[in-house]
Subunit: 155 residues, 3 copies
């Protein structure tokens, strides 16, 4: 597998483990001294700070979907840069809120001592982010984090 594909897979693992709330695997995608900046309001220094924030902010009642598109990756030896186009949706079930948005990510990757690529710096600038109240008619018909979701749909 070439470095570009390894880095794409790294980003997929980062987003998958984030949305599946698998915090050990999520932590493993970051360098120990990662710098992360999500929009204007949230910045973190170091793996522990990022993971702690995500773990405490994203309980099972908050469903997140982070999908990244359009990888533009440049590899230079053991470092690399990458641009991605994020599409994300956050369902805050307890408050029946939905947050949607899009952003351009600018990442830096490093091949660390064990030979694996990790995220050394990550950040994005949002095109937009919006919050809305979910309409009364809106109902969950499946929820990975709840066994008791009613089966109301026929498709």
């Amino acid at each position: 597998m070439d470095a570009t594909e390894e880095i794409r897979r790294l980003k997929y693992r980062y987003l998958r483990s984030l949305d599946l709330k698998q915090w050990d695997e999520f932590a493993d995608t970051l360098t120990t001294d990662v710098q992360a900046s999500y929009g204007k309001r949230l910045s973190f220094e170091g793996r522990d700070a990022v993971v702690d924030y995500m773990r405490t902010s994203l309980p099972p009642t908050i469903i997140t979907v982070h999908q990244c598109h359009h990888p533009e990756i440049e590899v230079d030896g053991d470092t690399a840069t990458g641009t991605w186009y994020l599409d994300d949706k956050v369902l805050v079930l307890d408050h029946r809120l939905m947050i949607t948005g899009a952003a351009f990510y600018e990442d830096v990757y490093a091949r660390t001592d064990d030979g694996h690529w990790r995220i050394a710096r990550t950040g994005y600038v949002r095109s937009y982010e919006a919050m809305e109240k979910l309409d009364d008619s809106w109902q969950l018909t499946a929820n990975r984090w709840s066994e008791s979701t009613p089966s109301a749909t026929t498709t």
Copy 2:
């Protein structure tokens, strides 16, 4: 074209022919004994069962958009596995309902006797699925399956 790219293209053809309701091409992406499991409620054994279900469930009044992201594909000789992140939307026009969702696919692929890769097993676990009534203000401005869609937008 290497096997990984062939398998990505297979998945794109599967999803494109599904959303375009091109059932012969859709059938050709599956092995004859494919096993398919879409969420907890829908499981099928064999190509004919999958195709029959889709063909009868998805008339032109139901518009589907299935887009898969983040391919993580592992090839081992003539078999392969793949994980994908689905984003989907279903418009049930007759009832003015919209279903949205996200899921992680786990697929198995096989290179069959004619040298082509096909889907041997497919299934997903949904992060969430939701159903909502389309707001009164919501109106179609284009519809591939209807010639008479009004042209109300200027963009």
Copy 3:
């Protein structure tokens, strides 16, 4: 970088510069005699016509998100064809309207005299396009083109 990857990157640059309203970079992704056809209502001949239309139609009060998936690219010497699956969203802030849609792109690419691939023909057929009024509860919490967006969300 092989031709297939160069063409994917070309498409990402085209969509990124479109959504970021970077019209010089956008123009550079097109051949001078490009033919563009967006749905049934909008067709253009030549780079200047495309760029002029986009520049005047998409001021900062109109936020666009165009993301393309499922690249199926065939290279034949210095020309190539490509199919993509578009997912798009347009926020018309002044009128609190949102347009959403999906479409299959059919593109033709050409390697031009300077060795760079450019878009020679582009067009799509929409699966659907819909327009809706944004609900009263819907509010922007980030906007790349506005410094004064209130920070109302905590995520």
